[in-house]
Symmetry: C3
Subunit: 465 residues, 3 copies
Amino acid sequence: MALLQNKLAVTLILLQIAFVVLFALVVRYDDDANAAREKNSRDHSKGGADPHNNSITRYYAMFQDVHVMIFIGFGFLMTFLKRYGFSSVSYNLLLSAVAIQWAVLVGGFVHSPGGSIKVGITTLLTADFAAAAVLISFGAVLGKTSALQLVIMTVIEVVAFQLNEFLGTNVFGAVDVGGSMFVHVFGAYFGLTVATILSRDGTEKAAGKEGSVYHSDLFSVVGTLFLWVFWPSFNAALAPGDDQHRAVINTYFSLAACVVTTVAMSVMLNKNSKLDMVHIQNATLAGGVAVGTAADMMIQPWGALVVGSLAGVLSVVGFNYVTPWLSSKLKVHDTCGVNNLHGMPGIMAAIVGMFAALMASESQYGYSLYQIFPARSPVVNSTALFAVQKHLSVDPGVGRTAVLQAGFQLTTLCCTLLVAVVSGIVTGKLMQLSLWDEPKDHQLFDDSDYWLLPDEGFPEGKMVN
Amino acid sequence: MALLQNKLAVTLILLQIAFVVLFALVVRYDDDANAAREKNSRDHSKGGADPHNNSITRYYAMFQDVHVMIFIGFGFLMTFLKRYGFSSVSYNLLLSAVAIQWAVLVGGFVHSPGGSIKVGITTLLTADFAAAAVLISFGAVLGKTSALQLVIMTVIEVVAFQLNEFLGTNVFGAVDVGGSMFVHVFGAYFGLTVATILSRDGTEKAAGKEGSVYHSDLFSVVGTLFLWVFWPSFNAALAPGDDQHRAVINTYFSLAACVVTTVAMSVMLNKNSKLDMVHIQNATLAGGVAVGTAADMMIQPWGALVVGSLAGVLSVVGFNYVTPWLSSKLKVHDTCGVNNLHGMPGIMAAIVGMFAALMASESQYGYSLYQIFPARSPVVNSTALFAVQKHLSVDPGVGRTAVLQAGFQLTTLCCTLLVAVVSGIVTGKLMQLSLWDEPKDHQLFDDSDYWLLPDEGFPEGKMVN
Amino acid sequence: MALLQNKLAVTLILLQIAFVVLFALVVRYDDDANAAREKNSRDHSKGGADPHNNSITRYYAMFQDVHVMIFIGFGFLMTFLKRYGFSSVSYNLLLSAVAIQWAVLVGGFVHSPGGSIKVGITTLLTADFAAAAVLISFGAVLGKTSALQLVIMTVIEVVAFQLNEFLGTNVFGAVDVGGSMFVHVFGAYFGLTVATILSRDGTEKAAGKEGSVYHSDLFSVVGTLFLWVFWPSFNAALAPGDDQHRAVINTYFSLAACVVTTVAMSVMLNKNSKLDMVHIQNATLAGGVAVGTAADMMIQPWGALVVGSLAGVLSVVGFNYVTPWLSSKLKVHDTCGVNNLHGMPGIMAAIVGMFAALMASESQYGYSLYQIFPARSPVVNSTALFAVQKHLSVDPGVGRTAVLQAGFQLTTLCCTLLVAVVSGIVTGKLMQLSLWDEPKDHQLFDDSDYWLLPDEGFPEGKMVN
């Protein structure tokens, strides 16, 4: 029967039915979106909720920026392949659509086990972040898997992502406002691990198809630029007040510096002093990743410039030396170079964050130190806590020192790497099952067998399959 | 004389002069944009208007999202044709530019006959909605009309659109926060009616030009994704507080579910299990349409998932079965498949809205029931009204029951279909006049006779005209 | 040594180091972004700053719109050249990244010499405006310079831009909310002057490469449409309350009218009544420029329509008659036609602004007259000033009359033209130094020698170099 033959369709339909059932069981509107909430039914002047304070007002603009990054930024960034553009942009959409529904459920289970899951605008935003991790991993295996394999990967990765983020935030008390560890490091090394497990000789034989054409490179830059422009929102969306303001400023400057050093390194490392479009498409964004963990900290604008400058250098060096080395020595084939855009700059972000945490003191942050680093807040019922709470409402913490906080930041990086690699191995092994229709060699980096294509075929060059 | 020969130029110039004259006579800034208003000239602390409460602050971000949808979303969505990209994106811009000016005037006349028309940010937003209806109709006739015919269509359609929306809202008391009936159903069936009137045999002969090439399909996806990402703003822009929040959540989930089922149906209905780019470009958006009417209602996230899931199925089925049937049996040629993206999902939205209205009660909505369904508000001077007004400022209504409200929702759908078809017939007949330079057969789906083209001609394939 | 051979890389690295050092010396977070500020460390209810009033909340959405315009709008607008798309979009990114860092420093030195420079969201916004001026100039010389020459140009132009803006605003007391004089006129005539200095015969011989192909024209329209859609934010971002609201309305209508007359003029001036994509890409935007200076003034919506209508006519006439004339008679080769999009419409904006200033009176503006035209505010300690300040907090001015204000508006236009031409001459002469690797004739409008290109080469047509 055709229906049973079509494993992808059946899987997606069952998955969607499962989402509907689980949502019906446990997912409800949060207070700010619930008409039945009594305060939403009253004028503000009569004790009702102030519509200006509805969280939709506060978060919506930055949420939409992030939404553009996920669906357009990542989606077009991956269209550089000359024969795989349809798959790139469409699987990006499909995986994100799966990830955001699943992330709401898994995130809810992890953070409020047992109870109902309340969704509001911040739920949508954090679901988008989970999708980002999946898309980064997708970049590592781009062109080398079936859609079905990717759906399997998405379902598992979202769970591992949520658990790791819970570990880092709630157990280790680490902070990572831009998700450089939780999203970028995790997504990159999970994806690279999967790519390693799935590696095979066919990849190299298909190398002729792995390239770009002139206009596919320009489509990719559409993705780059939307990521570049909205990255300040990615790093700042969840921060409040002046923290958010600082995260925007730091990200803006880090990205600007990163562009300058990326161009410099690109021509410097090419023996004919030619620019490489791959660097423009990817390395220019490393500044956004590298400043992510410390984005809301008092690193000052010059600090942001230093971080961005170094990130550009690191990323171009990665593309020119690390990627070929990984590919030839370790058989890690990284289609989009996620190690250079998300992996190494993410590790750098974690280290920058660790040092910034180490140097954070009340003299520099005032009482907001305890908002930015909640674990540093004094313990419950302590005089120190009351002294703070006289000025600023903060939750009790564990009274951590700066050194301890820095230590936990580093621990979280290590934990993230560990969880990414271990869950990546498990996922990769699962994805290898013949059940999931892994592409044959001639299907690598090629839409032909998966899409109805226009009669004219691919642009420029009727390469024989 | 060259000037008189050029009917398009003359028409546009006369039209623009008419707009200037009419604007000079009746259009003025509304209070929030009028420097002369006394409250705008005072500090807030001295009794002046609070700049944070200026409507520009409240509506601007979502307005801009909608603006992107109209000019970039719709514009690029239609660039899939390999030889008609210049016309698609440019006529989209031209028709919108005409529509928004004209919609301000017509909308003003309809809603405040006689008085001056006050424009503010919500006027711009609703003018954009009117343009959306025109662009949907444009999709049905894409490639088959002259620019002049399209301008005539725009001028008439905006009037019919405004009258129908007035009927539905002010006479029938229907609600349709995302405009699924007023914008999508109206635009689709108006356009399909016009396409039917204009249908002729030449269309089929030009079929070789109606296709896409690989990169024109990617340009089209740029449009798709901007529509997809910003659709929550389209459905939520005019709703207040928690209603807006809910509209965002419902649309976000409906669209995500729709992507999953679209991909599933696309591979399932193709005999080689191949994906069809047309579905990705269009059917993935049906979830935004189908949840539009009920977007601000208490359908719960799982309800939104159900709506979106079914919309994806409906839309793909439409593309694969309904469109060919309409074309072969009824001679309705629907270039962009607007019946599948806007028509049927719009009807579905109306029905979902009807059921949601049927089930709406004070226990579920609190007093905001009377904000969301104004006609259900108790009659003027009634005890029931005072009881509500003690908590929430609502206008008196007609004390409608849920059943009646549902009935009026259905009535409005029927009325919309009727007005769309009747005004579409009149418009189509008018557009057939030889006066408007209807394209000849060889000019269908082809920029060649209308544009200065680059020397290299169209990408891939120098098809003989 | 390779390093020394590569002047571009060395220059960029030195420049970036200089930025880091200068930022470290003088640039700090402003109050709204500074955790150490005591008010940011207190709850609003306990005398702390209200996070809703943090300037990030007020400016961020419009800032992001402008950011998209700079990096995506300008970037893609210039990709129309068939063999120069990589350079166009990448140099756009590089020059902007240099300009925004440098503009923060120069702007700070000019406006607060000696003290530290405080950066907040408005700093980022005005840095983006400075980048816009550079990108406009870039359009005039597009394809005819090396990256190194462009970096030199950027560094000098930002200084001249800031000085001219300081002169106009702080010395002449001119107002220009949308930067039509300070950004557009300055950028255009600076760039045209540089283009004139650099003009040579080779440009014409390379004419075969200067054209577009079908899809490069569509990439360019991506840029056009993002500029078009977000232009209201460009003109309104820095205005408060109802002024901002008015700037949005005026720009929206001016742009809509401009599209209509652009299309009309495009077909009217072509002997075969064909549309020209160059006009759609550029002239449709002239309405945004032409209304820029008066955008926040009480010109009424019909006034905005008149301005936009005329701007479209002016711009198309410019492309069809002025550009060829400038090229053949004055040897001014203007690759993107910046004279038609930014130059002449900018001068028109200045004149419209002058007349609007001439007609501005307290009866039309209330006390906000003194907010919009600060120099018209009564002198310090005058009874007139106290009378105003009883209602609205305004700074003392110099009690200028409307006629005087109009005169200073005109003076500022003249000053801008003068500074642009003089600094353009100096810059052009400097750029001619052989040191900066001016491209050879065969390198004009061609990425080949500067980029690693895909094997397939340029789309459509393997033109011999």
